[in-house]
């Protein structure tokens, strides 16, 4: 029998004020894989991630993490289960230094030197900027800091929301390299992305959202190979991602 998924959403509905955003999302995130969550703007991807983190409360359905129902759990308790969140806005504390931002992401306030060296190997610029105010970093550097904060401690699941948003192509390639290295460690990752080039380069499995529901789920390789499916689900033409 195959191992149950690390994270599972079962019929999740989420309302924001009077707006009904998620309409029964069913999603499984297999252990040790990188699952891409794709979809057009407004499909409900960010709402799904925020519902997983408890930042917006699911109004119906269940969110199960490693067999445990976390639907109603407070956000700090969800984070303490080993789920790290990289928000769409990066959530960098601009008034703090890079060092202080990283320190906040450690449970004890102390760094594991090996993990810190790994972070510097992935994103060397952070070593140079270590004592600088994070507000002075470029968009790409802030994204690197945001991801580094998520991996500075051992995590069981990384939930990352659109890391390539607003970044230059060269920086995106650097990010892809960093995420590929992370993937090689078999860390379970749920990644929301609009950039199909990045998604196809990284994803093991994929789920595509449309109008607050999962419209398709399967293996990333199958979606990459099926242009008609891409066109139907994502409105992509071959030319748009070549």
């Amino acid at each position: 029998m195959s191992e149950p998924p690390l994270l599972q959403l079962e019929g999740v509905h989420t309302h924001i004020g009077r707006y009904h955003i998620l309409h029964g999302v069913d999603l499984a995130v297999p252990r040790g894989e990188l699952t891409m969550l794709l979809g057009r703007n407004g499909a409900g991807k960010t709402t799904s991630l925020r519902s997983i983190m408890g930042l917006w409360r699911a109004s119906a359905g269940r969110i199960i993490f490693d067999g445990r129902d976390i639907t109603a759990m407070p956000t700090p308790d969800i984070a303490r289960l080993g789920i790290a969140y990289v928000s769409e806005s990066m959530g960098i504390f601009t008034q703090l230094t890079v060092h202080e931002n990283m320190k906040l992401a450690t449970a004890s306030g102390r760094f594991d030197q090996t993990r810190l060296d790994n972070v510097f190997a992935l994103f060397p610029i952070l070593r140079q900027k270590w004592h600088d105010a994070a507000g002075g970093l470029s968009g790409g550097q802030k994204q690197m800091l945001s991801i580094s904060r998520a991996i500075i401690e051992e995590r069981r699941l990384l939930v990352i929301d659109e890391p390539s948003k607003g970044l230059a192509p060269g920086v995106i390639e650097q990010l892809i390299g960093g995420l590929r290295a992370l993937k090689a460690t078999h860390t379970t990752i749920l990644l929301v992305e609009q950039n199909f080039h990045m998604a196809s380069a990284l994803g093991d499995s994929v789920a595509v959202m449309d109008d607050g529901r999962i419209a398709h789920s399967g293996r990333m390789a199958d979606l990459v190979a099926d242009e008609a499916l891409q066109s139907r689900l994502l409105g992509l033409s071959l030319a748009s991602h070549q």
């Binding site: 928000s87 959530g91 504390f93 703090l96």
Partner: protein, 325 residues
């Protein structure tokens, strides 16, 4: 640490102090500058809690004056009960009496802060309108409870013997109590600075002021921090109230309400949520009040509001605005 310093805002105080020098004699300038600095330090104590409470919790607390009032009355009672120490010709006993009054004021105001947060504030997180209504109500109720407990008449406060009168430094009269107030303010600022910049709790407070949601997503329970900051802010207001009452040597039940306006001006000038801004804003208000009170007494009443308007025309979000997410 390499941080970007906002020199224009930092240099504002030295420039103001230097600009005042040619307008008066040196001795008057020294007296007024020390007086302004001391008043600023007392305002800083009263305002620091308000700015932290707003910055971290997004709560507009118009009841902050209630903690100032409570601190003032508790200090008056303690100093009244310790007349043996306050009247003694001993610096040590005098300081002990003041320390006891300040400590009692901090404890009572902090306790009241805890009660306020539990009973009133936690019901209105996220709604500024409700916060204004409920905290203004809280201020009125507290003032009336103070009248019930201490009476409607103004209360006289015996200032400790060694802190009465002035030093003469090169012809400039410097009130002894102002030096004590300034020293206490500096000590508390230093403690707060170290707490906020050298401890993990301080790091969490600074991060929480900027982005509460992300602090929670990193696994920290910010609600507990809210309560701690609210209590600390109330205790600081109590200390400020105690020091201000001993400076004025009389206390009435409206002391907190009266000071609330000045305290809000300080916080707005400094930039809501900023500790450095609060310190500089408080000293600026203290200096402007004293300089204008001497140079143009008829303009004294509106001088702090005029200073606030000028600062806001220059920096619409105050001197040290926070980048909030």
């Amino acid at each position: 640490m390499k941080r970007a310093h906002d020199w224009a805002a930092i240099l504002l105080l030295p420039v103001l102090i230097l600009l005042a020098l040619p307008t008066m004699s040196l001795s008057t300038w020294v007296t007024l500058t020390v007086a302004g600095g001391a008043m600023g330090m007392m305002l800083f104590l009263m305002a620091l809690g308000l700015t932290l409470i707003f910055g971290l919790m997004d709560v507009l607390n118009f009841a902050h004056g209630a903690f100032i009032t409570l601190g003032a009355y508790v200090a008056a009672s303690v100093l009244g009960a310790l007349t043996g120490w306050t009247a003694a010709d001993s610096w040590a006993l005098n300081m002990l009496a003041l320390a006891a009054a300040v400590a009692a004021a901090a404890m009572c105001a902090g306790g009241a802060g805890l009660l306020f947060e539990r009973v009133l504030i936690r019901r209105v997180y996220g709604s500024h309108l409700q916060q204004i209504l409920i905290t203004v109500g809280g201020l009125i109720v507290t003032e009336q409870l103070v009248v019930v407990a201490w009476g409607a008449q103004q209360l006289e406060i015996p200032r400790p013997m060694a802190m009465r009168g002035s030093f003469l430094v090169g012809g400039a009269a410097i009130e002894k109590y102002r030096v004590v107030a300034m020293a206490l303010g500096l000590v508390i600022w230093l403690v707060m600075y170290l707490l906020l910049n050298r401890t993990r709790v301080g790091l969490l407070v600074r991060a929480g002021v900027e982005n509460r949601e992300m602090v929670e997503a990193l696994g920290f329970r910010i609600r507990r921090l809210f309560v701690g900051v609210f209590v600390a802010g109330a205790a600081l207001a109590g200390i400020g109230g105690a020091m201000w009452a001993a400076y004025q040597q009389v206390v009435t039940s409206s002391i907190g309400g009266d000071m609330t306006i000045l305290v809000f001006i300080v916080v707005i000038i400094g930039g809501l949520g900023s500790v450095t801004g609060c310190l500089i804003g408080a000293i600026l208000v203290g200096l402007v009040t004293n300089y204008i009170g001497f140079l143009a007494p008829s303009l004294s009443l509106g001088s702090t509001i005029a200073a606030m308007v000028l600062i806001l025309l220059w920096r619409p979000r105050g001197l040290f605005p926070l980048a909030r997410s």
